[in-house]
Symmetry: C2
Subunit: 327 residues, 2 copies
């Protein structure tokens, strides 16, 4: 099942059920008003949502509308909680080597809590204050949970993963080192993320969802040029383990979004990267200094998961960075 959120009065938009080919939709009302509403009552509403999805796939149900992924909001335009992991070991290892960090302990997941009161729409301009802040994209996958009890095990956590999403975790690299050194995590270095237009249930991915990982390449184009296409399956910890890690001392509210961290493969020399920092890290390792600059105002980034010739289950992120007006 595929879900999306269309603009409507109020910050949370309105929930629609989307066809597998992303061309048609039916309103989810009166089953659920918004995605948060559906997640708050998932067990109750899921059967009816799936019946609507089946009817949409089977024909042209009453209320059907054309679906334009570029007009959608983020599936969850705001969330009560966003916890972002960093689960691809090749990313961490390369960044440590390039930046001369001490290795970070990696026998447990890395995770920080980030800005969740806004997830940008997939084609919305990204307004940032300063070109000198080291503007970078980070292609990620994420999951959205229903309510998860404190202390959940990883196997039990898997059943709480209700939806899978594709995320661009915008990062300001010039601001990150000072925040990283404090030990307090990232605030200024991590403005609002963006989400691809369509959230999918795990079964929608078929065999591409296994071991609680998304086994699909994530293609990233920067200013129209392919920048990377690493596979999402290379996580050291599956999303089930990330959910259990997050819930060690807290219950997770329904609508918690948990991110994979920058998708990265050991073969980054071949498949490229989903963030500029990784390419710069490689340049530093090879030549002693980076040669690729971060993004400029006016630059665009496009992200889309899927195999060449295959489906793109989440639709695509296609955004432009612009200068923000000072407050």
């Amino acid at each position: 099942m595929k879900l999306a959120t269309l603009p409507a009065p109020g910050p949370d938009g309105r929930l629609v059920i989307v066809s597998r080919d992303l061309t048609r939709a039916v309103p989810a009302q009166p089953i659920a008003a918004t995605l948060q509403d559906a997640l708050d009552r998932w067990a109750e509403v899921e059967p009816a949502l799936r019946r609507s999805a089946d009817a949409l796939e089977a024909g042209s149900p009453e209320g059907e509308i054309p679906f334009d992924p570029a007009a959608a909001l983020a599936p969850l335009p705001r969330a009560w909680q966003w916890l972002d992991g960093s689960a691809y070991p090749s990313h961490g290892a390369l960044m440590q080597k390039a930046l001369g960090h001490e290795p970070i302990e990696t026998d447990r997941p890395l995770m920080y809590q980030g800005l969740s009161h806004q997830f940008l729409a997939p084609t919305e301009d990204v307004a940032l204050p300063n070109e000198g802040d080291g503007i970078d994209f980070e292609g990620e996958f994420g999951v959205i949970t229903d309510a998860v009890p404190m202390g959940v095990s990883a196997p039990a956590a898997r059943g709480h993963i209700r939806l899978i999403v594709q995320i661009n975790d915008w990062s300001l690299r010039a601001l990150a080192p000072a925040e990283f050194r404090t030990g307090f995590g990232f605030v200024q270095a991590k403005p609002a993320c963006s989400m691809a237009p369509v959230a999918v249930t795990p079964d929608d991915l078929g065999e591409d969802w296994r071991d609680a990982r998304v086994h699909l390449p994530l293609h990233v184009w920067w200013n129209g040029e392919l920048f990377g296409r690493p596979d999402g399956g290379a996580m050291a910890f599956g999303f089930d383990e990330l959910v259990a890690h997050a819930a060690r001392t807290r219950g997770l509210c329904a609508g918690t979004v948990i991110g994979s961290g920058t998708v990265s493969n050991e073969t980054y020399r071949e498949v490229g990267s989903t963030c500029i920092a990784e390419r710069r890290g490689l340049e530093t390792v090879d030549h002693g200094a980076p040669t690729t600059s971060f993004m400029r105002f006016g630059d665009t980034v496009r992200m889309q998961a899927g195999r060449p010739g295959g489906a793109h289950p989440f639709g695509r992120i296609d955004q432009r960075v612009v200068g923000a007006n000072p407050g």
Copy 2:
């Protein structure tokens, strides 16, 4: 003006306006349903709320009810964003000395984003999974903003501070060092915080609110024994600077809560502390090792701001730690 939230169907309770002596209240409806609702429309609703507050102070307006602070929820039972500072330099300096850390750069505020989907009620039991996690309280002050534009200056930020609250930032000290070392900040080490029952507008504190700081002692009792009474005014950065720091690369949504960090004074040997970690740090400095243990299940903590014989503007936090049932 003083505001509180009483239990009602739904997670956000219902907003009431509270008398200065904390004994009486009037419903804020139909002006605003909840505190989040009021903050979303602050400029529009504030005059009417203040008229109700004036009527309550002047006599017995229609709809008046007795107010029991112990029956209140947190003023904001959940928030879209909680950013906690660490703005008392004596706390940081002592912890570094005791733990043998490198000094953290302190020419800019320290801040992490924490769990905000739940703020515990002031008298609610605090359910935590494990006595061995180093259960500790942290007495803090906090502010709640309306919508703050990205890039706001500290002077302009002051006008966005709509309410002041008193917070217990629960901490699990045994889990903090591993998270601190990652640079990613605190997830497992920081479960849900608690809030004292009454949120106040800056003018309610009169001369005790100046330089964007709360110049009142915060009294903390652990198992009925006075543990500390440091003054809130000793912040290295005022709340205006903390708000501006938070808003450097993001707009803040209405209802953002920003914390001071553990209230601490240079005179901690005389006035005590608002967290156990600080006392243990002092014991380590003096004797090479801590002698005070962290909290046990069944322990209580009470926190109340105000001068002896004076008012207690926020009411009090009075909680017991209990073992959580595993998920």
